[in-house]
């Protein structure tokens, strides 16, 4: 099976959809001739033409509105927002329009738009190239919200989002583009080459929306993570020798409550991880729902290990990023809680 990094897996997913569905188009800032600042659409304009793959003016609201307009007229647009930090000029078009058009028109108009955007830290991007804004979108009814943690899921989940008739926010943890990252900045950059999830089947497949992946079975504590934090969780559990069950959520809305609740009811303990600031982050929703569904089983308070409630700093990146030490400490604390 071919080995791909996450960028190649995403390119492959878009390439196949452009080939198989004439309604699919993709655009964004630097997406056309250049192929995107991270190269996710590289080569696609040459292959599929400027009418299918093109550059867009630097106006995120207009990019999303154009996507919605195209979608309500039969197209299936994939819009790239260059960095998740820059999606907010388009926030109103997402919240007031894209997420509601099916509802407010009672199904007469629908907008199957996929918005792809790189998110997350770990690249010294400072406060405007490191955000993880997923929580904002989980509070908007009508949006699918997904974030893969590896090339295999990236291709399958992006394909599922493109094919879904619901609008989808697809977050790409940019720190994982070229290799898995376990939160240790001192290690040399890993590669997806010899990683099992770097094995990406040729041709079409999907990873279903709403289904989590238990990446590590365990008895003592449930760890819920997505994106880069999945890898940090695995490394921290190994390091501490904690028998943790690690769930890669993959889809945030709608998330896989059955897998989550079953696991927490089994372990009785839960730690939630994300890069985003803690207050009103998606970890809050997970904790609130879990304490309700698993109240009888909980033997320790649910811990959240997250980014801090500050803008994402530059020099102090590794004091901000919820790395292995902080995750390990939370695991021990939770497992030992009595």
């Amino acid at each position: 099976m071919p080995q791909m990094n996450m960028i190649q897996a995403l390119t492959d997913a878009i390439d196949l959809k452009l080939r198989d569905d004439e309604c699919v188009v993709t655009f964004g800032e630097d997406v056309g001739y250049f192929g995107g600042v991270f190269g996710v659409t590289r080569g696609l304009q040459e292959k599929h033409g400027t009418a299918r793959v093109f550059d867009a003016p630097i106006n995120e609201a207009a990019i999303i509105a154009m996507a919605m307009g195209l979608a309500t007229n039969g197209m299936r647009p994939i819009a790239e927002i260059q960095f998740a930090d820059y999606i907010f000029p388009g926030f109103d078009q997402i919240l007031s329009e894209l997420s509601r058009i099916r509802y407010r028109s009672a199904g007469q108009y629908t907008a199957p738009v996929t918005i792809r955007t790189p998110c997350g830290g770990g690249i010294y991007g400072g406060q405007t190239h490191s955000m993880s804004p997923e929580a904002f979108f989980t509070h908007i009814p009508g949006l699918v919200v997904a974030m893969p943690s590896n090339p295999y899921d990236a291709k399958g989940l992006l394909t599922a989002c493109i094919e879904s008739d619901d609008p989808a926010l697809f977050f790409e943890p940019k720190r994982l583009y070229n290799g898995a990252f376990d939160g240790d900045p001192n290690k040399p950059q890993a590669s997806w080459k010899d990683h099992p999830k770097g094995e990406v089947p040729q041709g079409h497949y999907t990873v279903p929306i709403g289904v989590a992946d238990v990446v590590r079975e365990g008895k003592d504590v449930t760890v819920i993570a997505y994106g880069t934090m999945v890898h940090v969780a695995q490394a921290a559990a190994e390091r501490e020798g904690v028998d943790a069950e690690i769930i890669d959520l993959r889809t945030l809305i709608p998330y896989d409550i059955d897998t989550v609740a079953r696991s927490v009811q089994k372990t009785g303990r839960c730690v939630i991880l994300h890069e985003a600031p803690r207050t009103s982050g998606f970890g809050a929703e997970l904790a609130a729902q879990i304490q309700e569904d698993c109240f009888y089983h909980l033997e320790a308070p649910i811990q959240r290990v997250t980014g801090w409630d500050t803008p994402y700093p530059h020099a102090h990146e590794w004091s901000y990023f919820p790395g292995q030490d902080r995750v390990a400490r939370a695991l021990k604390k939770t497992v030992e809680f009595a």
Binding site: N59, A61, L70, T72, Y103, R104, S105, A106, D166
Partner: protein, 409 residues
């Protein structure tokens, strides 16, 4: 430089409550003054049109000049009839709101031509992305009065299942988009929609309307930028009815010589037209639609008119503008002007007009009776409560299903 003083100012309208309006200073050009460029002319040729005012009907009610669309009488009669029907519909719905049968309503008095003539000049396949004040275009496309009313009173026949505020119509069968409460969002969407049409090799174009105040939104600039960059086949209309709720158009327009002139900086044709002149609105819309359909891209049209009534049932205009501005408006009333024209042409009579007015009243009353027979907002029946949880997603996900169960429906 020490004694120099930067100074800011806040624009204010010429007249406020208590003043007697006098619009002579508007200094509007005479109808027939403007030449009509070729539909594929370079955008720069429209420079004078963007500062001027295209008109066809002169004071005597004659159709004059280059822009005369030379429409057959039947077409004009039909347009007049729709405008009168629109007015009758508005009157009735406003009354019903006053008696609390509607939660909210918005009239388009004085702006009927802006919507009706444009809808007439467009093809039925063209997608309309309206604001909340183009009900005339919906009626021009023969929307069913009862359906429109059922929406406005959110009863069990409301095609939007009671989800939307009154007047926020959606009607896909009539190529009428879903009206949003958020100003201006439809402008760039219309550009995207029209691009899809072109990409699919179809001939349908998009047309959108926003108000003078809404031109200040970022989405106006986004729409113009997209339309310019991609040469999108779309007609972008700005209805300058002088007011944005209580704010005079100089608050959003600032020192701009006109709203149409904003097109210049995008390399798009800009045309200002007398919005109360049915023939002129038809002619300019037709020009823009043909240009778009023939690969010429977008046009920005400013429809110069006046908002005859309150912004909505939520405000009292006598609090912020002088009483008889509407009467004093130099460009008259679109219904009266077209009526006078047809009568002058011997194609319509005062009796015809009265008869048609009576007919519209009757149709509207009958429709209302039928509409309320399907329920009202206050007493229902409404769409079944469980439908409140549908259409958020294609399939109801677990968390919404749980919430529905929590409500016990």
């Amino acid at each position: 430089m020490g004694q120099a003083k930067p100074q800011i100012s806040v624009p204010s309208p010429a007249f406020r409550p208590g003043d007697t309006p006098d619009f002579d200073k508007l200094g509007l050009p005479r109808p027939g003054d403007h030449p009509r460029p070729d539909i594929l002319a370079d955008a720069s040729e429209t420079l004078p049109l963007s500062f001027g005012l295209v008109g066809v009907l002169d004071e005597a009610g004659k159709a004059v000049g280059d822009w005369n669309p030379n429409l057959d009488p039947e077409t004009l009669r039909q347009g007049l009839k729709t405008m009168v029907l629109t007015r009758a519909y508005d009157d009735r719905m406003l009354k019903m709101q006053r008696t609390k049968r509607l939660s909210f309503y918005m009239k388009c008095l004085g702006e009927e031509a802006v919507a009706v003539a444009a809808a007439q000049a467009l093809a039925d396949e063209d997608m309309i992305f309206p604001s909340y004040r183009q009900q005339g275009a919906l009626l021009q496309r023969d929307a069913d009065l009862v359906d429109m009313m059922c929406h406005c009173i959110s009863n069990e026949k409301d095609n939007l299942l009671g989800r939307q505020l009154p007047v926020h119509y959606t009607n896909k069968d009539l190529n009428w988009f879903s009206i949003s409460g958020n100003l201006g969002t439809q402008f760039p969407q219309a550009v995207g929609w029209s691009m899809a049409s072109a990409l699919k090799g179809e001939t349908a174009i998009g047309a959108s309307w926003i108000g003078d105040g809404t031109t200040a939104e970022g989405d106006f600039h986004g729409a113009m930028t997209l339309a310019s960059t991609y040469n999108a086949p779309v007609v972008l209309n700005v209805v300058n009815n002088q007011w944005a709720i209580s704010m005079h158009n100089s608050i959003s327009g600032g020192k701009a010589p006109s709203f149409a002139s904003k097109a210049i900086g995008y390399g798009i044709p800009g045309i200002r037209v007398d919005g109360n002149d049915f023939l002129a609105v038809y002619a300019v819309t037709q020009w823009a639609a043909e240009r778009a359909r023939n690969g010429g891209g977008a046009t920005l049209i400013e429809l110069f008119t006046y908002r005859g009534e309150a912004h909505s049932t939520s405000d009292d205009p006598s609090k912020y503008r002088s009483k008889n501005e509407y009467e004093a408006w130099p460009l008259g009333d679109p219904v009266e002007r077209l009526r006078a024209h047809l009568i002058a042409e011997g194609e319509w009579t005062a009796e015809d007009h009265e008869a048609w007015e009576a007919d519209c009243k009757a149709r509207v009353s009958a429709a209302w009776k039928e509409a309320v027979s399907y329920g009202t907002l206050e007493d229902g029946p409404h769409a079944p409560v469980p439908t409140m949880f549908d259409d958020v997603f294609v399939e109801q996900p677990w968390h919404i299903r749980r919430q529905r169960q929590e409500l016990g429906v």
